[in-house]
Amino acid sequence: MRPINPRGTWTLFLREIRRFLKVKMQTIFTPALTAMLYLVIFRYAMGDRHVPGLEVDYFTFLVPGLAMMAMMQNAFANTSSSMIMGKVMGMHIYLLMAPLSAVEVVFAFLAAAVVRALVVATVFLAVLLPFVDITLLHLGIILLYGISASIIMGGLGLIAGMWAKDFDNVAMVTNFVILPLTFLSGVFYSVKQLPEIWQQINYANPFFYLTDGFRYGFLGIGDTDPFASISIVIGSVVVTVLCCWYLWYSGWRMKE
């Protein structure tokens, strides 16, 4: 039986938290500023226009989706930037040399990604709540979808960071994979607004279920049944975590 290293796991988790807290401008204040910009642009540009098929005004519809998008992007950034920074600066060897199992490393990285995502979402929503009529209608659903999305995106960030050789590789994944998938996950529109073919494409995007379920938690409305989508979300979490564990365990692109 392999001895476990709870102190090492806790230390790695704390280190990852401290890392993003050291760059508060990026991780705390930027989401707050972005929220203000969204407020100015969408709240006043769209006015009281309603989303077709859903009894809600467009800005209220947007806010949970934007919060979810910020969570997903920050969770991805937390793990991917830490990994690639470690590789470029040579610090990743201390993770490889430390007596930490793959389970412990993955747990610490993903837990820190979840914390960053929750901090970002809290700041984002705290800025916008005075201007929008939303409540924590189904807190359990909000947390389930929010945390699941953070784990999935944190996991994808970890894999991208392990795969990447330089910052450009990570930027490529961020800009050509993550950004399109999050933008096309129903953050800015209801899937009912789309032509049939695009609706089908949306249903194949796992990020769509995350955004839609998260929105349901706040507004009680959505394009899918969030309870029926739980299996897709949980399945995606399990697959992502297992992939992270296996890749770290095998030393994929980390050990020669």
Partner: protein, 312 residues
């Protein structure tokens, strides 16, 4: 007990290059062990396999009686590695780095020990600066502190003094000697062979992935190291077949200024007279002559030159 028992360790990379070829080596516990070899010899590959940053192709390693590859967590807690390349975390201060490193190895940060490390490695004044503000030498010393902060029983130093000035190097070695005297095994690779000769009680030489020799330093110097008679003729000397035959007992080597003959030793004397007379009969009297004993660098060059088919 031995600190390390390496048995048939081999590393072949995906491109087919064998960096380490069936190396078998024992590092006694409490020894100060020099692992020497030219660039690309396989030293760092060996160290990286011990540190778990490179996967072995085959072979076994025992650390303090425990199987390294199957009991990694136990073994890793007992190994501290100073990597060859400078690595630093630009987000944190040296003190934070040492606290995190302690924690990663499962140890509660020992502030007294951390302070002592800063003191011994002359980083006290810089311990609360961001690592980005440290010079290259300071960063390298921080790597040494990181390797020691969890109080390992085996410390592996992969060229730790590159870029460190002479005075600091001396202090670092003094610190390492103290640690070694307390029973910590130290495995050192360095290009400063005089340092290895002075510090280490065991030595192994590796080249092109193959182990050439491994033995106690004193034994190596007395058995392998020999003295040579250097005869200066002020011009290159051509060794004919006849000369080579006449001087065969002295392993003659011609160079730009003359010839060099290896001296044999026996109780109470050497073959100096015979060698000198033989050289004079072949080339005439030299304009200058001298005897020089081999140091570790000569032995190193001679052994690694033989491996590559050249002549020292």
């Amino acid at each position: 007990m031995n600190a390390l028992e390496i048995n048939g360790l081999t590393k072949t990379y995906d491109n087919g290059k064998t960096a380490l070829n069936n190396v078998t080596l024992t590092v006694p516990q409490g020894s100060f062990f020099a692992l020497l070899g030219p660039n690309g010899a396989g030293k760092s590959t060996l160290i990286n396999m011990l540190a778990d940053t490179v996967r072995p192709t085959s072979g076994e390693v025992t650390l303090l009686g425990r199987e390294l590859f199957s009991d990694r967590a136990w073994c890793k807690k007992r190994i501290g590695v100073v990597p060859q390349e400078i690595a630093f975390d630009p987000f944190f201060t040296p003190r934070e780095v040492l606290r995190f490193t302690s924690g990663l190895f499962g140890c509660k940060p020992d502030e007294a020990w951390i302070d002592e490390l800063f003191d011994r490695l002359e980083l006290t004044q810089h311990c609360n600066k961001n690592t980005r503000q440290l010079s290259g030498g300071m960063r390298r010393r921080l790597l040494v502190a990181q390797a020691l902060v969890h109080r390992p029983e085996l410390v592996i130093l992969d060229e730790p003094t590159a870029g460190v000035d002479v005075e600091l190097r001396r202090r670092l070695w003094s610190f390492m000697r103290e640690l070694n005297a307390k029973g910590i095994t130290i495995l050192l690779t360095t290009h400063y062979l005089d340092e290895a000769e002075e510090l280490c009680d065991q030595v192994a030489i590796i080249d092109q992935g193959n182990l050439l020799t491994a033995r106690p330093m004193k034994e190596m110097m007395s058995e392998i190291a020999s003295s040579h008679l250097w005869l200066n003729y002020g011009k290159p000397v051509a060794l004919t077949a006849e000369d080579s035959s006449a001087l065969a007992a002295f392993d003659p080597r011609a160079n730009d200024e003359g010839v060099c003959l290896k001296l044999g030793h026996f109780e109470g004397g050497s073959t100096f007279h015979e060698a000198y007379e033989a050289a004079v009969s072949c080339f005439g009297p030299p304009i200058d002559a001298g005897v020089r004993s081999e140091d570790l660098e000569d032995v190193f060059l001679r052994l690694t030159a033989k491996e590559t088919g050249g002549r020292a």
